[in-house]
Amino acid sequence: MVRFKNRYVLCEVVSEDPQCRQCIEDRAVGLAVRDAIGRVHGDFGLACCSISFTVKYLNAYTGTVLLRCRKDSYRLLCSALPFVRQLESRNQRYPCFLNTLHVGGTIRTCQKFLIEYNRRQLLLLLQSCTNEEERRCVQKSLLRCSLTEEQCLSGNEDDDDDGTETD
């Protein structure tokens, strides 16, 4: 059995245009990232990163994206992410950028991080709530935010614990 160490890069799509969410889909994100790698690291960088590169998980609602690549080339990937300028799909272009949240060796660590991160975001949201209805709504989501439920990434079957891929 051969193990290949992978790296998972968790990032969020930040855009001023709320319409951008429509664009957050596997293909568009993958293309945008590839394009950035091609620009920053050329054919060689693209060739290195393209081994086992996929968009592993994507949440269009929160704008979270989980990318996977080989451990050897994650530096190339991470250094190219800031150069993603736009997402494009169905002939629509939206300027945006990717904010790297976490780099982990396994999907699980990324998941843990994401839950914690979302919790913090909700807490911030709670502070800025104006009416009681909103407040109750956010509090409810906050309570649901724990690792046992694994809301965010449940249903992702190849969630290998050691972040490796078997051959």
């Binding site: 091609g38 920053v40 060689f44 960088g45």
Partner: protein
């Protein structure tokens, strides 16, 4: 200048060993072009080198400091200087360059030396 005061000056023998100390590497290259057609000027030559780097290693590669120390338009030969950490990148980019202005071309790397002084022997 006093010439006969060796004893005092001679006392200090000093030795130091530097491992891969040179900051730069030097390449003596020759651009092979099919006969006829325009030859690049010095600026175009440098542009060609940078574009080769950009193609293979992207903007990061194109940003490598490469100096064209000498360039002879007649023979299309040049001496390039590059920071040592970028040697492999530059060399591979030159190797994989196949076209100049839509004509086939080939970079022949004649010598690679860690110091400028070493180039040009034999």
């Amino acid at each position: 200048m006093a010439l006969s005061e060796p004893a005092a000056a001679a006392a200090t023998f000093e030795r130091r060993v530097l491992r891969s100390a040179g900051e730069h590497h030097y390449l003596r290259v020759w651009l092979e072009l099919p006969d006829g057609g325009a030859r690049p000027s010095a600026a175009q030559f440098k542009q060609l080198v940078v574009s080769a780097l950009r193609e293979l290693h992207g903007e990061v590669g194109a940003a490598l400091p490469v100096d064209v120390l000498t360039y002879e338009e007649k023979t299309l030969s040049a001496i390039l200087r590059v920071v040592s950490s970028g040697l492999v990148k530059l060399w591979s980019a030159l190797t994989l360059l196949g076209f100049y202005q839509n004509r086939r071309c080939a970079f022949r790397v004649l010598q690679v030396k860690p110091c400028g002084d070493w180039i040009g022997q034999q």
